[in-house]
Amino acid sequence: MYRSYVMICGSENCSSIPGHEHLYNEFQNQIKAAGLEKEVMVLTGSCLGICHEGVGPNVAIFPEGSIYTGVKPEDVAEIVYEHLLKDNRVTRLLFDETVTIGNARSVEDTEFYKKQCRIAMRNCGIIDPKNIKEYIAKDGYQSLYKVLTEMTPDEVIDVVLASGLRGRGGAGFPTGRKWKFASGNRGKVQKYVCCNADEGDPGAFMDRSVLEGDPHSVIEAMAIAAYAIGSDHGYVYVRAEYPEAVEHLEIAIAQAKEYGLLGKNIFGTEFNFELEIKLGAGAFVCGEETALMTSIEGKRGEPRPRPPFPASKGLFSVPTILNNVETYANIPPIILKGAEWFSSIGVPSSTGTKVFALGGKIRNTGLVEVPMGTTLRTIVEDIGGGIPNGRSFKAAQTGGPSGGCIPASLIDTPVDFDSLSKIGAMMGSGGLIVMDDSTCMVDIAKFFLEFIVEESCGKCTPCRVGTKRLLELLTKITDGKGTMEDLNRIEELASFMKDNSLCALGQTAANPVLSTIKYFRDEYIEHIENKHCPAGVCKNLLTYHIDPKLCRGCTACAKACPVHAIVGTVKNPHAIDTSKCIKCGSCIEKCRFGAIERK
């Protein structure tokens, strides 16, 4: 037992900041120098969720829960001597919200955390993910013990059903129902339990964080699911782009085996469970359930028509359940604290919490977990700290390439499965990208379509050809060649794709386009009729000018221009040759007098 724990955030958002690599050794050395090595332990932990620009690396000190941000190796001595030795706080480095609140000693009191409710991410950043003992100390594997020794498989399914838990991967299908469908013929047929960790939605990284920060919660939940449906074998399908998550999961599986929590006769019962990791190979469509399973089988990851549903004919053609990482992470607390506790959080049709990856044009970026039904305003303004640089909130995009945009007029929409689909957006996996008035909505719609065109597997025509045609129509508009007729064509094509595509990828591919047309029609019309991009993003509709009154002739822009399109002599106003200009924006970055205008 140690008196204090120093947890250095080791996640991508912190560890890629220069200087981070020296923190661990520096803490060790300074702690030793202060004679505290028997009292204080230094660990590399996982994401605390505060990933704001310029904030990391974060260092948390437990049990008090103080978070220091932007810690450099040269700050370590001060933290050790002031905080750990004298129990003072190094105010200049404390997470700034804790300072503005006054003498708050714990981050729990900050706006960023106060309105959150951490269930799926309960252990992230708090325990050492590479040490099973820390998970066990946080009631880990108690739920598995409880189901194996006190509950029948049907009782487990009943609890999950009663909790109202819905799949966190996107579609929001009730988890308990999925389990029930697959529960027939226990012990008579081979079945599989799979975990979808192929987190591919651009802008969503909560599954990665759970796998990196609390891998045992997923392992425990999968074992519980296996017991419930009568399976003895599981697969976790992880994106290869997440090497750290894979490493932590591998360590966790090995430790669980060593402790007898995976393998044969778990907790001395008849229950056996083996778990394997399968690495994705870079195909977004493999997040779709049937595609994921064909990929595990070693084939092209193409979806197939349903029915038969995986619950009756899934992986290797046997009954299979597939849940997403965040869904699984909710299972152990549900078993331990009961369905009633879980369903009391959130709203009746969407119980519990949801983790959002807050990103884009927002002050506090990072992972936030809030009760379902929290309004978008609370997430963006209170937790997210609002829009930086004095700009204004224009829209939030949820659900990634399958989702839609929520305009500023609907900022009081409660964020839950049904409220979001009612307004044409979607929960999706929980990416929440905030956009300000410098974001062009046509460009955003085009961005998602480019992604989908790239990732469409090509098996069915509505998706393969439809997405391509849709992208061509949008490109016409952003190039200034669109007509009003194109808007109708887009809507017609979108509804055809929705009805006729084989899987959700194609069925939802048009959502970002449709929702932006719905809420930002004026912006589309402005592109089409006036050949003008109000946000100043669509290159072909922009021209650059130098205001001769503001230009001092410093030549900085002319030097920066990669195509020598700026002419002029020293101390005389310069001008841009628009026929040569490639609209790269280098000149604007360099101009100190605000003389260059983009229209």
Binding site: N13, F205, P243, S295, G301, G359, T365
Partner: protein
């Protein structure tokens, strides 16, 4: 013709995963990790060893983004084009790198085999957007100038 050592290594990898159809992807992932690309000769060899047609193995290898039949450069640069990076300006960074390296969407590797430039959809480091990676090391909060400076530094 590849050196015999390539086939010996492949045999080792096949033995590790088992000569089954379901092992195809893990096997070719390991080969690619070993040589930083997937030599076509080895793909055919694996197909024969695990009892599937060459055509099937080829269809799988070409389906997934991660497999490359072309050797990659010494430095593999990936510019993240996830949503958060996109709205914070990843496109100008990519364009600058294309012009700095003389590459394009079609031509991904420089002739001197020093650099390969690719895009990647979301690395999950959205707090530091826009980001890029060089041989998996993440460079946060990039700008076109910083990216160009990094290339000059890597060139030495």
């Amino acid at each position: 013709m590849l050196d015999k050592s390539y086939y010996d290594k492949t045999d080792e990898i096949i033995a590790e995963h088992g000569a089954r159809h379901a092992s195809l992807i893990p096997i070719i992932q390991d080969i690619q990790a070993q040589y930083r690309y997937l030599p076509l000769e080895l793909l055919s060899y694996v197909a024969k060893k695990i009892g599937i047609t060459e055509a099937k193995a080829y269809s799988v290898a070409t389906f997934y983004e991660n497999f490359s039949f072309e050797p990659k450069g010494k430095y593999v640069i990936k510019v993240c084009d996830g949503t958060a990076c996109h709205v914070r300006g990843s496109t100008p960074i990519l364009e600058r790198l294309y012009s700095e390296l003389g590459l394009s969407q079609e031509k991904k590797t420089t002739d001197d085999m020093m650099f390969t430039l690719e895009t990647v959809s979301c690395l999950g480091a959205c707090g530091l957007a826009p980001v890029m990676t060089v041989n998996d090391k993440v460079y946060p909060a990039m700008t076109p100038d910083a990216a160009a400076a990094l290339i000059r530094e890597l060139r030495g």
